[in-house]
Symmetry: D2
Subunit: 363 residues, 4 copies
């Protein structure tokens, strides 16, 4: 069940880097939604490899097919199976890595956990697994937009030491994010980030970064205390993305340095509801959305697969030098943007459904 | 189901700040474990209010009773219900807050979610809810220690701007942590932290902080990709603790600034297994433990309830000044230490059980 | 998690026959419901032992206490913990059975599963565990009645070879059921049933029976294909009651003997909806309620604990004669009536909540 | 989540009668298992339509493809996606049924639940959905056989009024079952059953029947009280099969007529364990397997789709006569045999994994 996520809108992903196909089954999609493959493809295109010189050279069209759950372009309320064929498979590239587990990669831990592992690429730990998240997240996002006008926008806020200027969370758009290949809406920073990534790719090295995400127009009341507080499920979702090392909501770690008198968000009257003047809470209080924008930051480590030689040991413990071949991203954050958005959509829609059930039978 | 956590070792908590009792039911506890109330009480004593001048003046003995699931001091494998009576109830203290939702507290969001809320204190959002986590976490920790020698130690690594010196994660003990009231093993920093908290309490203000946690002797192989990666479940668990705003594993946000060549943890031969020279991965790779210590950091915001006057609005949107009465902590991190440890134990034990099931039927 | 049931209205039971208390935690109860202990006690009184000469002599007041989740007589939407103290504990009664597993009881299987078992009575397999089901089912039934006018009535339709005359499923009431101690609304049959049970009690023997159940006014659309079809969850719920051996919905096993032309329920127009002329479907088609009454039958075996001597073996395999002491029911079906009703209520309410979530976001 | 089943070995099915493909994703399959498409195809061939004159004329090769989760013929421990393309789609056949809901079919209830339904065939309520159960059940059965020598054999024990002679549950084999097209190992009864089905097909009518199932060599200790007792999960699984109306374990409804002194199964010493002389318990006591064969009986109603004219109403409530076209089975029980076996395997394997986890950490 660990490849499934969600309670009422529940997704189950499948697929390795080099099997026949990767995909996802969505269980619990509301019926009657207009849904075509194009609705999903747009999001997959933002995730797929080979989009630019900044990412891996592996090229995959990543064409999605809807296998079930719709008829005449409408969802039936039954499970929607989405599938993307794996086309560009070159297992040979990974031959050297059979004996030497890549440092900070999943080779060693998969072997220890399962007693067996895919002989090439990352197997299930590959970023190809995230296709299922992006595809199902696209469906969730469409529902959220059409039913509640909920907007989800993620962007790259830092690469290595280079940070974006602050972004206006109330207005930033996906178009502004996509204006730069690196997906940072601060175009000056974007140029520097792209240059850094290009240099590191040239050197056979890699670099980490941070993705920020804003979720707008979420109604107050979403989140299920206590173990499924809204920030708790968002944290789980984001830390389930490969290569993540940190998560912040609202003020995050910086908030831990403040006094309460400075951190508290005073209430004011907004159109027909209470809002807050500041938003250090990041749109969530007591594990429940308060109607303000939900703001998240997710830290990604540098990709583990680098072509620079690394002193390490092989599976038998003998000293070895690893020079990884194969195609890999020098920096995952631009491609992580649609994954973060997809995860956010999965969490919010599931919480919305659960709250609607409660409201329907409230006394 | 949102007050339940875990798949095989599953806990379900209950209770508000001012009802008859709070507690937890543990389903799936291994049978035959020697378990007494004293085993649990030790942990609850570290969490309870009124331990020192640094915490709330609310005094509760927080005596735990085992209602079911054991006989002659051994667990039966059946649900273990643990209960702590609420004794020191003074609902009157909260009278002023009925009309004015406390800024950055859960008053407003609970009202929006449920259409009703407990009239006094935090209700279910109160820190009293964490008694269930600490009590069930104590049981989990006992099993982990006895079966696998797994150690979990958390401590306060910063309060406001005051940071602890680095702590040796291989050797830090719970005794060293408890040497200072503030639960920071760097005693010089601890003095400053305690002084700061005392000052803010005097001023009617509050302050945030960071809790670090180390989990030692975890076998390689724990964690369930992809949505229940080890760091994902730890992140969910930690962000389910009240007042948390951030989570880091291993290198965390700092890791996002590094190059892969610097961040990767090279393997070396350790006693009978592969280990790593550095541990920027924080003991987890590809969502699975690698046998190195698991290191976490959790950010806590300053408590929302302060007695300093706050300009805000009441539920009807009219301007109001809130001067909170009642008893509240100026800084939650020392009491959060056993909660973080409890959550960590719940996650690790559940993952251990799941991996044991897999190993038993592996081919 | 196996002591929990339900997805959105989720109950977690705890307690053995001879521990301090038995009870249940309800997670996901709609907020704002008027709920008092009396609402629950009525149902528990129908289940408790010692009601009449027909049941066990064990006497328990079975007084329920609401520990959490309500304030001023209204539910808060938070977990509701319900507790019943175990008062009449006489572990000594069971001394003989420590070495000899009772034939067809759970003594042997609990020992094999857990490697340990409660030394007296049935432990977790005792009928006392069903207190949690009845108590939480009472809450569910109240919601179903107040929100949807849903009625649930169960009755004893056979004891041993004695069968009730057919009961009018559209009109039978709980009052009519309770008119006879044996809870059979056909009073002629009831007299025979009661006489049979009294005779068998006198002989130290026991007897089985069948409980029928009707659920009226269920809206069309409840049930979650495919693995949580309405009849599938009802079957799970009923077979989770101790001593059950069979389950039928609608035509049941008799329906397997018929031709389709005879078995199909033709549709007709009823007030504002389609209904069916006959109801061999038992109110469920394709796993989903169709608006007609849902009719169930549940088979209970004779209680395993009898005082007649039984030739068997002890745990070590040596021949032994067991003459069970202790207090036990000669026939469980009258006390099973409120348990069946409780289980039905738990299933229907959970399904109603899930369908409401779907409807709220339907396009 | 309602199209998913199981806790540790968890399957998620997808697909309608007339979409591109049907299939299943298996999450939690033990790693290292030798698994080929042929292992699964054998089981699907027993389920597929068009096997004989007794079943629907719809012909589908039902060729399974393994999309993910294996490499070099071994399972990786990652999700296994199994897919069967829908080839023989003739939506035109169902034109008449768009306006008139078939009596006792799922047309009406699906429309009421989802507000939309597949325009042709049964959509998700079609028997094609059971492909996922049979395919994943085949994987589960292979593991059970290889690891524990567990055997599962189901057969047709009655068709309409025609009953098989008693079958020796200790020795009946799948080969003996498959000796007759109707899958009844009593060949005399089989001839009569087949003649009856042929006659009813000729008349445009249908008939119900009963499938019996035996599960041998199950170790004592499987089943998770209280809501996931072994018989409770088996009941859920079986009632989730389309067209089922009843379930019995062991003595079933007949057992409700007996006295305890007659019904109890006395223990005796068997090779190295306690066994029972009789087996009215059907291999399960207190919700837990006792090591004896588990025996089940499942009632199937006659298929709802018949070509005989039926007086009914259309969706708008107007009188109508339905003469169903399309291809449909006059009797589902022979094809239900592998579905029942598949469901049994899914339940037993999941319970085995859960018990292994417990045993591994037992004190």
């Amino acid at each position: 069940m660990s490849s499934s996520f969600g309670t009422l809108f529940r997704v189950s992903t499948f697929g390795e880097s080099h099997c026949k196909a990767v995909g996802v089954v969505i269980d619990g999609c509301p019926p009657g939604l207009a849904l075509s493959e194009a609705d999903i493809q747009t999001h997959l295109n933002r995730r797929r490899p080979g989009q630019s010189a900044l990412s891996t050279d592996r090229r995959e069209a990543d064409q999605v097919v809807i296998l079930s759950g719709t008829e005449d372009g409408r969802t039936l309320g039954t499970p929607i199976a989405l599938q993307v064929a794996n086309k560009d498979q070159r297992p040979g590239d990974y031959g050297d890595m059979l004996d030497i587990p890549r440092p900070s990669h999943a080779d060693y831990t998969y072997q220890m956990k399962y007693g067996i592992r895919a002989s090439s690429g990352g197997g299930r730990s590959s970023a190809r697994e995230t296709i299922g998240t992006v595809a199902s997240g696209a469906v969730a996002a469409k529902i959220l937009k059409e039913k509640c006008n909920i907007d989800i926008v993620a962007w790259v806020s830092s690469v290595g030491e280079i940070e974006s200027m602050p972004v206006d969370e109330n207005t930033v758009t996906r178009e502004a994010v996509d204006a730069a290949t690196i997906r940072c809406p601060d175009l000056k920073a974007a140029v520097k980030m792209e240059r850094l990534v290009a240099e590191l790719k040239e050197q056979g090295d890699s670099v980490g970064g941070v993705v920020s995400c804003i979720i707008r127009n979420v109604p107050a009341g979403l989140g299920e205390p206590t173990f499924e507080k809204l920030e708790a499920k968002l944290a789980q979702a984001m830390l389930a993305i490969p290569a993540t090392k940190g998560f912040e909501v609202g003020s995050g770690f910086a908030g831990s340095r403040l006094c309460g008198s400075r951190h508290n968000d005073p209430f004011i009257q907004k159109e027909g509801r209470l809002g807050t003047i500041t938003n250090l809470s990041g749109g969530i209080q007591g594990g429940i959305s308060n109607g303000e924008p939900i703001s998240l930051r997710i830290a990604f480590k540098p990709p583990a697969t680098i072509s620079l030689p690394q002193l390490t040991v092989d599976f038998s413990g003998r000293d070895a030098v690893l020079e990884a071949k194969g195609r890999h991203d020098p920096c995952v954050v631009p491609r992580a943007v649609p994954i973060v958005e997809g995860m956010a959509a999965l969490v919010i829609l599931d919480m919305l459904l659960r709250q609607e059930a409660r409201k329907a039978l409230q006394f």
